[in-house]
């Protein structure tokens, strides 16, 4: 007997590359034909990558980077002058670390104004500072008699290339226009190195592999990073990881459905002689294609959105943002994760396909659902591990290095816990439904019996809710923090005009050197113009905002006080309907921030407290009680809900009583204008031009969303995501149980029974998913907050009840009702894709 398999044959025994190519081609064609069935997965990946691209781009470029002063250096040293000691130290650093880039700055006051600009000596081709300089026109100074200025300085002094400028007693020819592309608010005049006689600030850029012991005055990007808790990059990484896990879970369910639908085709492929490897490749190639398409489409959409938003970002961030200035590593990793998620998600159904006998596959009979015998113990263990990992993340600030890693690991572990616990909860639910009506009892029993199938769906729904709830709780905690008050700056019917030399104006301490170039006018002139602007806007409400040196601080670890502290003038109180009689006679501070009055260890600091000229602060801002010099511990704070809520508006004010007994000196900081109707773009433009002519600046409603907006959107997104996953899962379950439902019909069950069965399945999955997701989110946030110095556990209590009810009650009801309506028609059998 001759064995044909023993014949000499050059063809590879498993078909080799031609077979792989043929199978991959078929998978691609099927995806093109049946892309609608994978729309949810494709949409999820596309949205995730698009949001990641724009999100990480904006988050890494929005804040004026805390690293911009470093140029390309790793270390940055600063000195307040160029004394002999400074020179000695710089020389020693040069000996220790090699190349240095020394930048001298001298703050020069604009004549007739409190505004300043920097006279800067810097080597335009310096080894580290080059990114801090860009030539806009002309050329860089080449001799001591030449200077290049920024456009702001040029405008301020009416200079142009070729002008002769007398500044700091030296006549120099303007040879160029320059800018700091990393900070467009940086106004300076550039001269050759060594031409700044009396620097008020010396910056030294260098690279030290390892700083010598005892080195002071030096910071590194890591030092800067330590002060920035929960930075956008960390949040992005966590969200990307969570989203990819969710995508993987949804993909498992999706590819399982798909594989079931292609059962007969795959059976035929096996009958034609495809190996198990070929069959697995069909499903896996599909997974990779879906991941690739989603990632590429998502990236293209995200990149186009980024290009469209970039000009706005540049304008708001005050620095040049390159079109390609994106954190490419994060984006590429996110795209790779998307492909990996779908590939690994397709692996399980791919393996399952090869376990089905070819005869059963050809007949379109899916394998009997596997029972899952798994206790809740592994889930609980993972849950506890997640709790402690997030605790570690909270303690380390959740930022940089191990902190970020702990957050990511914590959420990954938590997701595993949710997926493991979900099947167990189905068993519990089944026990409770033993006396329920037939349809509900059957639905619960099926869910419990086939936990391998329904557990994955429940896990995906729970993770969807978990992500939404984490956003909701974190937003509520962050925006609900009365100290570091966040949210919209003002209403769309409000505008603040800041004086040119006030604390918040363009020439204020916080904005040194950022003057708009217009000569400063007197307060009386500015007041007249502010009223004129208000008149043009149709406003009859112009409130003068007065400011003192007083501000508040919290003498405890965690967030500190943020926001302006204006004076409670009679005019201001009247504008917001506050009667003098309603204010306590010894009240120091009025605030609209709920709960602020109850915060302990608050102190009102003023005068020379920060300069230390009277001896303080000696023991740091968290010293308690603070020294009585220019500091009032435990000021009397009274809540006044009728004050405006915007972060830039007078939401917290010092009373006239405090002004008098602390000897504060009010100065006019600006004017708050309230209009009857929201301001138009044309009105804002006109007001801005008028204010700029006086050297004033205006502030109007920013685009920062309210906490309610964020929470509402997160709620909606979570519900839609969960319902989408649920719809897909119900589709899978119904297709698998189509035969059972037909039998049920044949035995006389009405359509009402069938519909009840489907509705009960959907409702139960939605309810448990909502409960598990919510509990997991609270577990995560409690784990993080209990150790975080930023927001304690109390911050978790501010989640709006309405949003919780939407997820915990409304979502299961919607799922039940929609399933009831959608189940009116008989379920389709396993549709054969073969023709």
């Amino acid at each position: 007997m001759t064995d044909v398999l023993d014949r000499i044959d050059r063809r590879p025994p498993d078909g080799g590359m031609p077979a792989r190519r043929a199978v991959t081609r078929w998978a691609w064609r099927l995806l093109r034909r049946e892309w609608r069935q994978q729309l949810l997965i494709l949409l999820l990946i596309t949205i995730a990558i698009a949001v990641t691209t724009v999100g990480v781009g904006v988050s890494t470029n929005t804040p004026l980077s805390t690293y911009v002063g470093f140029g390309t250096a790793h270390d940055l040293g600063t000195f307040q002058n160029n004394s002999a000691t400074t020179t000695q130290k710089i020389d020693s650093w040069r000996a220790l670390y090699g190349r240095l880039d020394v930048i001298d700055n001298e703050a020069v006051t604009v004549p007739g104004s409190v505004n300043t600009f920097d006279l800067r000596s810097q080597n335009p081709n310096g080894p580290y500072g080059k990114p801090l300089l860009t030539l806009v026109a002309g050329h860089f100074p080449k001799s001591a008699s030449q200077v290049a200025v920024t456009s702001g300085v040029a405008s301020l002094f009416n200079l142009h290339v070729g002008s002769v400028w007398h500044a700091t007693g030296v006549a120099r020819t303007v040879v160029g226009v320059v800018e700091n592309p990393l900070n467009l608010l940086d106004e300076f005049a550039l001269v050759l190195p060594g031409q700044v006689a009396n620097p008020t600030n010396v910056t030294v850029l260098f690279d030290a592999t390892r700083l010598a012991k005892g080195t002071s005055n030096v910071i590194t990007p890591a030092d800067v990073s330590k002060g920035n808790l929960l930075n956008p990059q960390t949040i992005s990484i966590v969200l990307v990881t969570m989203t990819m896990l969710l995508i993987a879970l949804v993909s498992i369910a999706g590819f399982t459905v798909l594989a079931q639908r292609r059962l007969r085709s795959i059976g035929m492929l096996g009958a034609l002689g495809a190996t198990d490897k070929d069959i697995r490749l069909v499903v896996r190639a599909n997974g990779v294609f879906v991941g690739l398409i989603g990632a590429l489409v998502g990236f293209v959409i995200g990149f186009v959105a980024w290009l469209a938003y970039r000009p706005t970002l540049e304008s708001s961030a005050h620095h040049v943002v390159g079109a390609l200035q994106l954190p490419w590593i994060v984006i590429v990793v996110a795209m790779a994760l998307a492909v990996a998620a779908t590939y690994f998600a397709s692996t399980r159904p791919a393996r399952a396909m090869t376990r089905i006998s070819l005869v059963a596959a050809l007949a379109g009979r899916p394998a009997a659902p596997k029972q899952l015998r798994r206790s809740a113990v592994p889930g609980i263990i993972f849950g506890v591990a997640a709790f402690f990992l997030l605790g570690v993340a909270g303690a380390r600030g959740g930022n940089g290095g191990s902190g970020s890693l702990a957050i990511v690991l914590g959420f990954v572990t938590l997701t595993v816990a949710v997926v493991l616990l979900a099947p167990f909860l189905l068993t519990v639910l089944n026990r409770f439904s033993r006396s329920a009506p037939l349809a509900i009892r059957m639905a619960m029993r099926d869910l419990a019996r086939y936990r391998a199938r329904s557990g994955a769906a429940l896990g995906a729904i729970s993770v969807g809710v978990l992500i939404a709830m984490v956003v909701i709780i974190a937003s509520a905690a962050r925006f609900g923090n009365v100290l570091d008050y966040a949210g919209p700056n003002m209403a769309s019917t409000q505008m603040i005009i800041y004086t040119s030399n006030g604390p918040y104006g363009p020439g204020g301490p916080g904005n040194a050197g950022a003057g708009n170039g217009a000569p400063a006018k007197s307060i009386a002139t500015m007041a007249l113009d502010a009223h004129s602007i208000a008149h043009d806007l149709g406003s009859h409400s112009v409130v003068t905002l007065e400011n003192t040196s007083a501000t508040l601080q919290h003498a405890a670890p965690g967030r500190s006080f943020s926001g302006p502290v204006f004076v409670a003038t009679p005019q201001l109180l009247k504008a917001f309907g506050i009667k003098q009689s309603s204010i306590g006679p010894t009240t120091d501070v009025l605030t609209m921030r709920p709960g602020f009055a109850a915060i302990t260890q608050m102190q009102l600091v003023y005068g020379n407290y920060f300069s230390g000229s009277k001896g303080g602060p000696i023991t740091g801002p968290t010293a308690w009680p603070c020294p009585k010099i220019d500091c009032l511990a435990n000021p009397s704070i009274q809540q006044m809900p009728s004050l405006p809520a915007g972060t830039s508006t007078p939401n917290t004010i010092v009373t006239e009583y405090a002004v008098h007994h602390l000897g504060l000196q009010p100065i006019t900081a600006g004017w708050l204008i309230q209009t009857p109707v929201p301001l138009s773009a044309a009105q804002l433009s006109g007001a801005r031009a008028t204010a700029a002519a006086d050297g004033m600046s205006i502030e109007t409603k920013s685009t920062i969303p309210t906490s309610a907006t964020i929470i509402d959107w997160a709620t909606l997104a979570g519900i839609l995501l969960a319902l989408g996953i649920l719809a897909m899962s119900i589709g899978l379950i119904r297709s698998e149980t189509a035969g059972d439902l037909r039998i049920l019909s044949a035995t006389g069950a009405s359509s009402r029974t069938r519909r009840s069965l489907t509705a009960a399945t959907a409702g139960a999955l939605a309810l448990i998913g909502a409960v598990v997701g919510t509990l997991a989110a609270y577990l995560a946030m409690i784990g993080f907050s209990r150790t975080s110095a930023l927001d304690g556990l109390h911050s978790l209590t501010s989640v709006p009840v309405a949003n919780l009810l939407m997820i915990l009650v409304a979502m299961p009801i919607v799922a039940t009702v929609v399933a009831w309506i959608a189940a009116w028609r008989d379920p389709k059998g396993i549709s054969g894709q073969v023709v």
Partner: protein
Amino acid sequence: MSILELQRVSKVYGEGDTEVDALTDIDLSVNRGSLVAIMGPSGSGKSTLLTIAGSLEEPTSGDVIIDGARVRGMSRNDKARLRRRTVGYVFQDFNLLAGLTAVENVSLPLELDGIPMKKARSKGMAALEGLGLADRAESYPDQLSGGERQRVAIARAVVGERSLLLADEPSGALDSVNGESVMRMILTACHGGVAAVVVTHDAKLASWADRVVFLRDGQAVDETLPPPSPEELLNPDVPKPSLS
């Protein structure tokens, strides 16, 4: 020479109380170039016999030998290779793969066997041409009529060097004209040296076969040569059965 041999093949489904004997001690031998029809009532084991003969399913006992190779003990991959190279299937409901054109469907078994796409495609085209479907080669299955689909399925089953064609109710979903046409093609394939086993309910179509095997309750209850077909009766070279 025998291409397919079933030796005392039995198949039992289920266990204990649910045990069902689908096939019992079936012996069957099919020679190269011959056409065997399997007939019998529903549940008699016809399809089971076909799936076991094509290595899609393992018999509970007995041996299956295809083109000299004993199927028992083969790995899944070896069985897949055997199917790619030796066995072709035709099913009642065509089972063409959606997403692939007619010629791609036909050339797929060859590509799965490691033949490069171009070469496989030209062989597929040749098979389609042989069945008069060259002009429909680039059509997708849903653009073909029922008869055309089944012809494509036959082309796929015989493409390459297949020596065994197994057809399960190949004309079941077709009208009588198309059904006859399909049987004619199978017969043509047999004339080319392919051994064919066809399961059918249609006695008229079974009359095309060299031999008819009757199954009942999983057992071969009768085996007969069919009466001569009208064509044979008109052919003077074919010996006529004696009337005595």
